[in-house]
Amino acid sequence: MNQHRIDLMLCGGTGCHASGAGEFKEALGAELERQNLDREIRVIETGCNGFCAVGPVMLVQPEGIFYQKLTSGDVEELVEEHFLKGRPVQRLLYKEPASKETIPIMSDIPFFANQMFRAMRNKGQIDPESIDEYIARDGYFGMARAVNELTPEEIIEEVKTSGLRGRGGAGFPAGVKWGFAAKAQGDIKYVLCNADEGDPGAFMDRSILEADPHAVLEGMIIAARAIGASKGYIYCRTEYPLAVERLSLAIENARNYGLLGEDILGSGFDFDIDIYQGAGAFVCGEETALMRSIEGKRGMPRPRPPFPANKGLWDRPTVLNNVETLANVGQIILNGGQWYASVGTESSKGTKVFAMSGDVNNIGLVEVPMGITLRKMIFEIGGGIPKKRKFKAVQLGGPSGGCVPEKYLDTPVDYEEIAKVGAIMGSGGVIVMDEKTCMVDMARFFMDFIQDESCGKCTPCREGTRRILEILDKIAAGHGTPGDIEILEDLCDVIKTSSLCGLGQTAPNPVLSTLRYFREEYDAHVYEKRCPAKRCAALLKFTVDTDKCKKCGMCYKVCPSGAITWQKKEVAAIDREKCVQCLACYDACRFDAIE
């Protein structure tokens, strides 16, 4: 490897791309070339760094200095001041919002300091397109141990000891699953990686694939060795072109290095991997549907048993694991199951990656040790709620999950503890909601999603979710009638117990959990025709409360249709003829003056 004086780890994740990382990279490359620095300084485009909220971001190695919100206009100063004269550019460093203190080193920033990197340990540290850099960070060492030193039983034992549970949602112990498939009889066995990532508000798996594709391959090879599989597929969401590109390259490089394909590392063990792109169906994230999809059929779930460990893809014994689950495996084999289990709670070991978004300051990707409280995650790592608003609830686990209100914020990140308060760990979507979020509206949002994505095979899932959505629509439109809430509860019960797959069985959760904690909000909609959070347009008056109005004019500035009249020192007024009910003024008014 060519030695460089400085490595510039520029985030090439989707978030930073959208905030202009591409232009910045071009300008930076040109400037380095112009100054004849391109031999000593190298720009590496990494996967998502995690701190998307302040993107585009760049880490300067080996110093560990972190730059944020970069634009192409900053390039000259950066090169001149920092890379030539060694003086970091202060104005581009991170500033702690509360204390206004400047923090130059990445690992000192609270967002990073409270995290623990295992599944994402290479994130932003290596060039994801270089197998050498992966190997230089002990990559494929665990796999080498698995194929050359351990028996399949020993591999499975090690994974059982680690306590690693499936990160795709259900949390089934990975070692146990492998044990079933190892015992199953079959001429061919398969290892599949679930990279379908369907939760609409989550991008953990994408980031792992884009930042560290070899870690996933390594995990798959070890799993294959453990169960005796010869063929693997990665089922990747079609919306993730960069992940597919990087995986393809990683597979090719691993084959060239003799780490994949025939006779891996001279051990006599054969295993190869192909990528299979999904075609846009949420239900294909479910294991049996995913396998049918690879077989070229419509992705509809089938009843279990038989379980995939015995009869999976093409009716052969199959192990399916999630991206994040697999990304942990290499290190478990290298460092031992005990090492992995040294972090976490009684029943939940290791770390978990979350995609945190919504009404929180530090939107981005975080990896935390199991056992950390939700409060710490949202308020210390996430930096709390913006615009001085109040926290209302956090939604965990996406459409199958539930929300956790303020009073349970001290719940630790642990599969069982989170389930106790009515949510699920899920795959890692964390949506923080402030007081301006209407819970009826949120429940409606998830129902709409489920309704859309139900494969239609079972009537309760297909028709039941449609009925729920109709009732929620009715309630939000101000036509709720007494008894509606009770009907909702009954429907939820039926769908839960009589659907075939996890999609249907968990579909009512968002409704049930909002009912559990925010029933009074439903009541307000139904009985008082009032939306306390002021989100349901049909229940709003679109008038200014002249007592509350502080004459600030904020609403006037944001109204897109010129419906608001206002002058300095005068209260605002809304012309309902012109108003298009966009709700922009409600959001802008800091005095809650619009009714």
Binding site: S19, P200, S207, S357, G358, L583
Partner: protein, 159 residues
């Protein structure tokens, strides 16, 4: 032979290559549909028939697959595809307002194409850029933090 106004001889040749190289692979129908759609822009019914003959599969199977997955479009698409994210993070940040404005301005709903074939509008669930919510993609370009006005401004740039 397959004759269709939207399929040029070059596309036809490409389609034949795709079919020939996947003829004997079990489960190849989804990749074949994907590649053919990439070549033509959408999947006319005649093309689906042609694929089912080429792969030796019942027409109903191929048709069933093509309609099940949202990736496949059986109607012509616009010159530009506008994907508005209706994922949770974007929803919480008020993407609905932007979506409504786009729909109203161009007179199309999700899954529809303008009469002049300028835009196809799609609602998608999470583009993996939640940090920038609300997010919209036009062709391959991602735009974050879109307010209704900005969304319209951005679209103006695509002819």
């Amino acid at each position: 032979m397959l004759s269709h106004p939207d399929i040029t001889p070059e596309m036809h040749q490409r389609i034949d290559e795709i079919i020939a190289s996947h003829k004997d692979t079990p489960g190849a129908v989804i990749p074949v549909l994907r590649m053919c759609q990439d070549a033509v822009g959408y999947l006319p019914v005649e093309l689906i028939d042609y694929i089912s003959r080429g792969l030796n599969l019942p027409r109903s199977d191929v048709y069933g697959v093509a309609t099940f997955y949202s990736l496949f479009s059986l109607t012509p698409r616009g010159r530009h595809t506008v994907r508005v994210c209706l994922g949770t993070a974007c929803y919480v940040k008020g993407v609905k307002e932007a979506m409504d404005r786009i729909g109203r301005t161009y007179g199309i709903g999700s899954g529809e194409t303008t009469d002049d074939r300028r835009f196809s509008l799609e609602a998608v669930r999470c583009l993996g850029a939640c940090g920038l919510a609300p997010v919209m993609m036009v062709d391959q370009n991602t735009y974050g933090g879109i307010k209704p006005d900005q969304a319209l401004e951005i679209l103006e740039k695509y002819e």
